[in-house]
């Protein structure tokens, strides 16, 4: 008799992370074949039975073929649903289209809502994600969403790698102030804020620093580093204000466009990202990138979800490696 055991599936997006999670859980990744038809339609076949199993599907997205990865995920979910899986949990380390979460202009699409609807339509019963751009996205779903935080892992990294007393936490925009204060509280540090006037997405204009960074190591924290325009500009601002050095810690290192070149020419000494997004290639282009492995958190969330234990412990604590 098959017991309701855990099955871990992954698409083509981030095999490395899936492998880390599966190793951590001590299970094999389920055999899945993801192919593309000659006209680029994705085709899935799942190589083992998922009937009455607790299925977890890990799928990240990376710049370039986000939509392919989304379709892949949806098809995987749907295949498991039609194959009578008991419960399907989508593990989306970085939630795609999270930034299109409001109607900020006339007739702007709320694509994050669309993503939520699509996941549910495909047959998803549960979503695990990390550092949502806006927590309100959880409300777009009618199924439970566990929004994990990379913060405990980040705090540990800071404690292990920097002299905590010499640091100051900097938020690059007003929206990230809450995240920055939370980290600053966790480390018992001061924090500063950069106010920016944004004209268009991915373009940065004037910046004003509020707070004192003189002689300190400025740690810029944010939820994602995309083109890195904001981070590079913010680094310039804090250095102008007398910081001794400047590093940035972000959860999702999307690093699209010419982000690597920008980083290489910037005042940022380091960019620390988690491995929610595959970035091994980027690391070769830019030696300032460092990685925090968050697979233990994801694995632990999967394990706890499967066993019906509380996940809230993970909001404050990072599992030990």
């Amino acid at each position: 008799m098959a017991t309701n055991s855990i099955k871990l599936l992954t698409g083509n997006s981030h095999g490395q992370l899936a492998k880390l999670v599966s190793d951590r859980l001590g299970i094999e990744l389920a055999k899945v074949m993801v192919l593309q038809y000659s006209n680029n339609e994705s085709s899935i076949s799942i190589g083992e039975s998922v009937r009455d199993e607790d299925v977890f599907i890990i799928q990240s997205t990376e710049p370039g073929n986000i939509n392919d990865h989304i379709m892949e995920l949806l098809i995987l979910i749907n295949a498991c649903r039609t194959a009578s899986a008991r419960r399907i949990t989508a593990v989306l380390p970085n939630f795609p289209y999270a930034r299109q979460d409001k109607k900020d202009k006339s007739r702007a699409p709320i694509t994050a809502k669309l993503m939520a609807n699509m996941l549910q339509t495909a047959g998803c019963n549960h979503v695990i994600t990390m550092d949502l751009h806006a927590s309100q996205i959880q409300g777009f779903f009618n199924v439970p969403v566990d929004n994990l935080y990379a913060e405990p892992s980040t705090l540990r990294w800071i404690r292990e790698n920097l002299k905590v007393k010499d640091c100051v936490i900097v938020s690059p925009d007003a929206g990230g102030a809450k995240r920055a204060t939370s980290i600053a509280d966790g480390l018992d540090l001061n924090f500063a804020l950069i106010h920016k006037e944004r004209a268009r997405p991915n373009e940065v204009s004037r910046m004003v620093l509020v707070g004192d960074v003189r002689g300190k190591i400025a740690i810029i924290v944010d939820d994602m580093a995309d083109t890195c325009g904001t981070l590079v500009k913010a680094a310039e601002v804090v250095m102008e204000h007398g910081a001794s050095e400047c590093i940035a810690i972000v959860t999702h290192g999307i690093l699209s466009g010419n982000a690597c070149e920008k980083l290489n020419g910037s005042q940022l000494k380091k960019l620390v990202v988690t491995n929610t997004v595959p970035h091994e290639e980027k690391k070769k282009l830019c030696d300032r990138i460092e990685t925090i492995d968050i697979s233990p958190t994801l694995a632990e969330a999967c394990r706890r979800t499967h066993n019906g234990e509380s996940v809230s412990f993970l909001f404050k604590h990072a599992p030990l490696d």
Partner: protein, 572 residues
């Protein structure tokens, strides 16, 4: 039209331009692009409040991007308080994944239908869904337009002898589409079916002792016998009158491949009697047929082994029956579903020699298909060559793969497996083709490409000296089209082959391969699926018909609340 907006997705702007031109309306403004991280970005630039919105999106090489773009556009219009949102998808993506093909396969087409529903679509207009049952996947109304009138019109305008033409389906699944066209034009129709068969699978079904001896004979006599089969067939076919298609014929088409499979092992057995029958033919006929022979093997290169063993097979008992099998002239007199034991053919054979009056058998022609091409009847089957140890050019590499390497399904397991997996054995339906409209094209293509798989191709219907139209809904990979074209020309004696389909996907370098196939005269598709200019330039055989009129009319009628049923009728 007042109160309407027509938006174009990025997949096929040329078609939308044409539609708007016909409707006398400007395309509404929308900015499409990507964010720097690759997420799709949509900005609707005009007000859509209380408007009928039509969003035209086909597929393209970036099909998943097209889908996301469409969904986001629908969502944006919904959020912008549009009165109704109609998705116009000339090609419906993922329409080939409309049922569970394998264990745990996804029904992606249904999921896409649901996704469109949650995005907020109110109506869908599409052309020639791969399976019209897919309309049931939607919660909103679906107008499944047909391109058949367009294709028929082209046919009547451009083929002088179209009334003699035969519409041929290249798989049983598409029969309905073909009969519909044949009925509309009042022309005959035929079917080409491929009976997939892994050569190794034969071993488990045949006695190994028999098999060994066949292997020797079959390979060795090839040189002496080449062409004979075609001669005999051609002789008989030429007498055969084509009969109106009817129910019985459809039954036979289902039945023939199966009995073929049973008899397959015997195909390679040569016989002296057969030569005696055909030797009276004039040399010119023989020459002509030789040139028509398959491209797999040169007749002028007999194996040194061949002569030595030939006499042994001459005049042996049982060669008579094998003759028939070798000719591929199979007769099925039983009702479908009743398997005929091979012995029955012995009885028929005696009659077959003298009695050419029974024309039922003549409509069925078989051929052998290896690596996607028609080969001679005595071309060694891949596993035969391994067994007999003959070394033929281009076959040696196959020897490395012995029959034991392959996990063979246990013969006892086969009936059990066939009920669950179409890969093991195609499901057989009682009627010709309506059941399995989505017959696994991809798998068929794979089988055609696999040199270890030999298929038996069966042609039902008379195409002798007539132009042939091979009709289907999608042209993607070329293998099955080329195989069907070769079958009707080399086996059936057709004059010209026209490949006609609604959607020309032309994956990979499919268009070039089709272009290079000598048997194909022209490839006729519509522009429902965009065909890039550089692909069009690669071939002179490609003819692209314009569907903008059809779509524009459907949009206009929908907006004004008129009936669209006239769009399904043929026009002159």
């Amino acid at each position: 039209m007042r109160q309407t907006c027509i938006f174009s997705g990025s997949s096929h702007p040329a078609l939308v331009e044409a539609i708007c031109g016909r409707l006398g309306q400007k395309m509404s403004n929308v900015t499409l692009g990507n964010f720097s991280n690759g997420e799709t970005r949509v900005e609707i630039q005009t007000s859509v409040r209380d408007q009928d919105v039509f969003i035209v999106q086909s597929g393209s090489g970036q099909i998943n991007d097209n889908i996301m773009e469409l969904l986001i556009m629908i969502q944006a219009c919904k959020g912008g308080s549009a009165k109704s949102i109609t998705a116009v998808m000339p090609y419906f993506p993922y329409s080939r994944q409309s049922k569970k093909k394998t264990h745990r396969g996804a029904i992606t087409a249904r999921m896409l239908a649901n996704l469109m529903y949650v995005a907020g679509v109110n109506h869908l207009i599409t052309i020639d869904l791969h399976a019209s049952q897919m309309q049931g996947f939607f919660k909103c109304p679906v107008d499944n337009l047909v391109a058949e009138p367009l294709l028929s019109k082209w046919l009547r305008m451009n083929i002088p002898d179209w009334q003699d033409a035969v519409a041929v389906s290249k798989n049983p699944g598409g029969t309905k589409r073909v009969t519909s066209m044949a009925d509309a034009l009042n022309i005959s129709f035929g079917i080409v079916t491929t009976d997939r068969r892994r050569t190794n699978g034969m071993l488990s079904m045949q006695g190994s002792a028999i098999f060994e001896s066949m292997g020797t004979d079959g390979t060795n006599d090839r040189a002496a016998l080449e062409g004979d089969a075609e001669e005999a067939e051609a002789r008989i076919i030429s007498n055969a009158g084509f009969r109106e298609h009817n129910f019985a014929q459809q039954q036979r088409q289902q039945h023939a491949p199966r009995t073929n499979g049973e008899m397959e092992g015997l195909h390679h057995r040569p016989s002296s009697r057969h030569r005696a029958v055909t030797s009276g033919l004039s040399p010119t006929v023989r020459t002509r047929l030789n040139t028509l022979n398959g491209n797999g093997e040169s007749p002028a290169s007999p194996s040194p082994l061949s002569r030595s063993t030939r006499p042994e097979s001459v005049g042996t008992e049982g060669s008579i029956s094998e003759d028939v099998a070798r000719l591929g002239l199979l007769r099925t007199q039983t009702a479908p579903g009743i398997e005929q034991p091979p012995h029955d053919y012995d009885g028929y054979e005696e009659a077959e020699g003298e009695d050419d009056g029974d024309d039922r058998a003549r409509d069925v022609i078989t051929g052998r298909l290896i690596h996607g091409h028609i080969v001679e009847d005595d071309f060694p089957s891949p596993s035969l060559s391994v067994r007999s140890g003959s070394i033929q050019g281009g076959i040696e590499q196959r020897e490395s793969r012995s029959s034991e390497d392959e996990p063979l399904p246990d013969p006892m397991m086969q009936s059990f497996m066939s009920t669950t997996s179409s890969r093991m054995q195609a499901p057989q339906h009682g009627l010709g083709g309506t059941g399995d409209a989505t017959a696994s094209d991809e798998e068929e293509e794979e089988a055609l490409k696999d040199p270890y798989i030999e298929s038996t191709v069966t042609l039902v219907g008379n195409v002798k000296d007539r132009p042939v139209l091979i009709v289907d809904d999608i042209i993607d990979k070329p293998g099955s089209w080329i195989a069907a074209a070769e079958t009707v020309v080399k086996r059936g004696g057709a004059t010209k082959v026209y490949c006609m389909a609604t959607h020309g996907l032309f994956g990979g370098n499919s268009l070039q391969e089709l272009d290079m196939c000598e048997e194909i005269e022209a490839i006729v598709v519509t522009d429902a699926f965009p065909i890039p200019e550089e692909k069009r330039r690669q071939t002179k055989k490609l003819i692209v018909l314009d569907v903008s009129g059809l779509l524009a009319e459907a949009i206009r009628r929908n907006h004004h609340g008129e009936s669209i049923s006239q769009l399904y009728q043929h026009f002159d």
